[in-house]
Symmetry: C2
Subunit: 286 residues, 2 copies
Amino acid sequence: MTTQQNIPARTVFIVSDGTGITAEALARSVLSQFNLSYSRVHIPFVDTIEKVRHAREQIQNEYRQTGLLPIVFSTLVIPELVCILREARALHLDVIQTFVDPLKKELGISPKQEIGLSHQNMESEEYKNRIEAINFTLAHDDGQSNRNLDEADVILVGVSRSGKTPTSLYLAMQYGLKVANYPLIPEDFERGRLPSSLESYKNKLFGLTIQPERLAEVRNERRPNSRYASLENCRYEVFEAEGMMNLEGIPYLSSTSKSIEEISTAILSDMRAFSSPAQEKPSPKI
Amino acid sequence: MTTQQNIPARTVFIVSDGTGITAEALARSVLSQFNLSYSRVHIPFVDTIEKVRHAREQIQNEYRQTGLLPIVFSTLVIPELVCILREARALHLDVIQTFVDPLKKELGISPKQEIGLSHQNMESEEYKNRIEAINFTLAHDDGQSNRNLDEADVILVGVSRSGKTPTSLYLAMQYGLKVANYPLIPEDFERGRLPSSLESYKNKLFGLTIQPERLAEVRNERRPNSRYASLENCRYEVFEAEGMMNLEGIPYLSSTSKSIEEISTAILSDMRAFSSPAQEKPSPKI
C-alpha cells in the first residue's frame, strides 16, 4: 500500500440501462471510503447494442488518454450488453449481477435478465399514489390547509425553519406518504395548546426540533437582524415547542445535524415501531 | 434449477450504519430480477455493537422460525460490526465492502472504514444549496413567481398536469437544482408566444409533453367531466404546446410512460450534452 497522498484522479463511469440513480448513489458511498479525487461520467438508458458500444468507446478513450483503468459501476442485466461493455479495459464493478449470482444459487431459480423490472409502472396504483402524495403534501405545506387531514399519513409539527417542508416533500416523493406540516407559532405557545385543527390527529403527529443557535443562523439568512431570527426569540420558541411536544406526548427529534434522508428514515422507523408487522410499512418508491 | 413456481417467501433485511436508502434501492433492483415474494425489514443507523447485536438476533430469529436463510443486504463499514452481523446465519450481501475490495487493489490505497463518509454535512455549502434549491423551486412552482428567474438552473414548461411539479421537486431535492416551472395555457396559444417573462431565459427552458389520452385521464381525476379535462381540449392544448416548443427550439420529452426519475435523468443528460466537461454537471446529493 502506498500512502494516500498524490493518488492520480480517476474517471468513474456509471453505466445503466435505466436512470442509474441507484448505481450513482452506491458509487458515491463506495468511493467515499477512499481518499480519491475523481470525475464522474453518467451514461443512463444504455439499453441497445449501439448505446453500449458507444459507452464502451467512451471508456476505452478514457483509458487511452490517461493510461489509468477507469472505474465502471454498471447495472446492465442483458448478458449480450454486459459482454460488450466488459470489452472496455476498466475496473468493472457490476452492481446488480454481483448480487444476482449468489441469490440465484441460494434461491435455486433463474434471474429474468430483463431490463426495467424495477422501473415503476406509470399506470400502477403505487405510482399514482406517489404523485397524489406529492400533491397532498404541497397543498398541506406550512399549515396551508386543514382539509382532508384524516388522509394524512404523518403530520409534522415544529417551529418555523426546523426542516418540516423538505422532510415532508422527501417522504412524499420517496415513500409515497401523504404528509401535512404545521408550524408551531408564538400564538400556540401563548395559548399553551396545539393548533385546534390537530387535536383529533395526535397519533399522526411527529415533531422536529432544532438547536436555537442553528435556528437563529438559518432564520438570519432569510430575515437578517429581525426579532424572528434573534437568538433570544429562537431560544424561546424552541423551549416552548419542546415543552408542548413533551406535554402532548408527541415523538420528536432534532434536525440540527441530520440530513433530510436521516430525518425521514428516523420518522419511518418510529412509524414502524408503533405498528406491526414491521415489514408492511412504506418502502422506497424509487 | 426448479421452476419459478412455489418458491417460499423470504425475509430480506436491510442493515445499514446510515439511512440504508441506497441499500434498499439496490435490494429492490436486484430482487426484481427474481420471481420471489419477500417481506422486507429495514434496520437503519446500526452504528454500535449493541445495535448490531440486536440486528443479528432479529436475523437469527427469522432463520429459526422459517428454516430458510434470510437475505441480508448490508452497508456496514466498521470491521468489528461486520463480523458480528456475519455471525447470523443468512445469505450476506455486503453492498459496500464487495466493491471496496477490488477498488483497494486497483488503487493501491486503504479504505477509511469510517461511518458516515457519504453523509452530507449539514453545514456544507452543498447541503445549504440543496435546501435553498427546494425553497426556490417551491416558490417558483406553477408560474407563481417571476422573481430571480436568472437564478434558475432549469425552467420547465408544459401544459397543466404534464408532470412539471413533481419533476421540479425531484431535481431540486436530489440534485440541488433551482427549478422554476410554468404552465403553457390557452392564452399563450392564442397569442402564439411563450409567456413574456420567459423570453430572456430560452436557454434554460425544457419542455414536458404528454399523450392527450393520458392527460385527459389525469385531468379527469382532478376535475371530472370538465372542458379542461375533455379529450378534445387535451388534444388541442398538447398540439399547440408541442408546436410552440418546436417553433421556439425548446427541447422536450414526453412524460407519458416515464417516472419522475426517468424524466429528471433525461433532463440532466440534456443539460450535460449542452455543456462541457460532462463530468462537472450535477451529481445526486443523497
